[in-house]
């Protein structure tokens, strides 16, 4: 009955509903805050996301960016993430305050066939999934530890030598290997030229099969 008499009834009801929803949201936020405090995560200077994620299975990588100031840090993040995800994640997991976040999605090059295909087929194009990079601006600078001076611990010399041999062996079995001249080709060519011009005379080898050794016995 009041609905018809009072013109403000609708507005009042809506205000009441909004207040109720606000109170519920506030209570939820307070509960989450208490929960985070019990773990030891301080209150964030920004509005923390209210969705509780317990067992996510993702990983992010910190990338070195010498071109940026030390208060910047670049991350490779999942493609599904947004700026707020990274900001909340870094605050809750690492205690890093990301003041600003910048995103860049890098399209990958088209390549022949899928990765790890046994017989990659021509004209069967495959584009790997894009990569999402986020650069954050922090309140405190962070300096990367220096790169190792030498790679003795990683045995770089052996690794490079093995890699070089592997590539050489692989190329020798490919058609491109047959096109290459064998070792000592230049010397043979010069010797052949001498025989043709007559500056040197060819003599047959005295013991081509190495039989002398056996005959002496």
């Amino acid at each position: 009955m009041r609905e018809k008499l009072d013109p403000n009834y609708q507005a009042e009801q809506e205000a009441l509903r909004a207040a109720r929803e606000q109170a519920k949201a506030d209570a939820d936020a307070e509960r989450l805050r208490a929960k985070l405090e019990s773990i030891g995560i301080p209150e964030a200077p920004f509005f923390m996301g209210q969705k509780e994620v317990y067992l996510p299975n993702i990983r992010i990588a910190l990338l070195k960016t010498p071109q940026h100031p030390p208060s910047f840090a670049k991350f490779l993040v999942p493609l599904t993430w947004n700026k707020l995800d990274l900001r909340d994640y870094l605050w809750n997991v690492y205690g890093v305050h990301a003041v600003r976040v910048r995103v860049y999605v890098q399209l990958q090059r088209v390549r022949m066939d899928k990765p790890r295909e046994k017989y990659p087929a021509a004209r069967r194009w495959f584009r790997p999934q894009s990569k999402k990079f986020m650069t954050i601006e922090m309140d405190e600078p962070f300096y990367w530890p220096p790169d190792p001076e030498d790679f003795v611990e990683w045995d770089k010399d052996t690794f490079d030598a093995a890699n070089k041999t592997k590539i050489k062996e692989r190329d020798s079995r490919m058609p491109i290997g047959a096109m290459e001249k064998p070792a000592g080709a230049a010397d043979l060519r010069a010797l052949a030229k001498k025989f043709v011009t007559g500056s040197e005379k060819w003599t047959p080898p005295t013991d081509p099969f190495g039989l002398d050794r056996h005959l002496k016995k």
């Binding site: 317990y54 067992l55 992010i60 997991v93 690492y94 530890p145 190792p148 990683w154 770089k156």
Partner: protein, 273 residues
């Protein structure tokens, strides 16, 4: 009449003849905008690529886009002072910075294969079954951080090309992932057991789902709906309302059974959960 029809026919078969005599009709909006002579008269504001009126669009401080809005010639590259960052040796290292979490314990840029190999086996399910949810949850996040560290070092390895060590890092990552798998397995087992116990308790006559007159009831589970299961109380009340006169009887049903059981010398209503 005949002439007119001839002209029409010519237009149809040789459209280029018409273009020689008349100005060409612009084919698209872009063409209209690009060529002022082709632009039709209009008082409307011309279209722009981005219509937000942002003068600084496309200018970035970190992507070397350059300053477009400064008139050319007013400032040369020599006039611009290049930023000088403080050398690491001059500044005090922030030992408490959170980004150290992406590095190993020694805080070096890259772990040696020996360091990566120094780890035990993954957690076994019978070890995890003894742990509380809080412990398992904490262990999960330790694993997450360890995987982030290994992922970071993978990119460092691509940058430095130090030699061996990729396999050791992969083995370590595999063990971490095995632990995470076992955590999920343990929690799934726990959940399945809880579900079974819940369904078993529903059939158990000793368990009193509804509050009696004295305010006693067991198990002391406030609302099964909070755990994602159907609300037994609300269903009971629905049945009661549908049956009408039997409302009082359904209320007394459970306490009576409990009394009978207790009188028969059996255990009291159990608090299963």
């Amino acid at each position: 009449m005949e002439l007119h029809s001839c002209a029409l026919r010519a237009t149809r078969w040789f459209p280029s003849t018409l273009n020689c005599t008349r100005s060409r009709i612009p084919q698209s909006t872009t063409e209209c905008l690009r060529n002022p002579s082709q632009r039709p008269f209009s008082t409307a504001v011309p279209l722009q690529a981005r219509r937000d009126g942002n003068k600084n669009r496309g200018i970035s401080a970190i992507r070397s886009s350059g300053a477009r809005n400064i008139p050319r010639g007013s400032v040369t590259l020599k006039d611009v002072q290049r930023p000088v960052y403080k050398d690491q040796s001059e500044t005090e290292l922030n030992e408490k910075h959170g980004l150290w979490g992406f590095f190993n314990v020694e805080r070096t840029a890259l772990s040696t294969p020996e360091q990566d190999n120094m780890h035990g086996r993954a957690w076994k399910p019978w070890e995890l079954r003894k742990k509380s949810f809080e412990d398992l949850h904490a262990l999960w996040w330790i694993c997450m951080k360890e995987r982030n560290r290994i992922f970071t070092e993978r990119h460092t390895r691509e940058r430095l090309e130090p030699g061996f060590g990729e396999v050791e890092a992969a083995w370590r990552d595999a063990d971490v992932r095995r632990t995470m798998k076992m955590i999920k397995k343990t929690l799934t087992e726990r959940h399945n057991v809880w579900t079974d116990a819940y369904h078993l308790a529903q059939k158990d006559p000793e368990i009193q789902w509804k509050e009696d007159d004295d305010g006693n009831w067991s198990p002391s589970l406030k609302s099964p709906a909070a755990f994602g299961y159907e609300d037994v109380e609300s269903e009971a009340s629905k049945d009661a309302s549908s049956s009408g006169d039997l409302e009082g009887e359904t209320d007394k049903l459970a306490p009576n059974q409990a009394q009978e059981d207790s009188t028969a010398g059996k255990s009291r209503p159990r608090n299963l959960l």
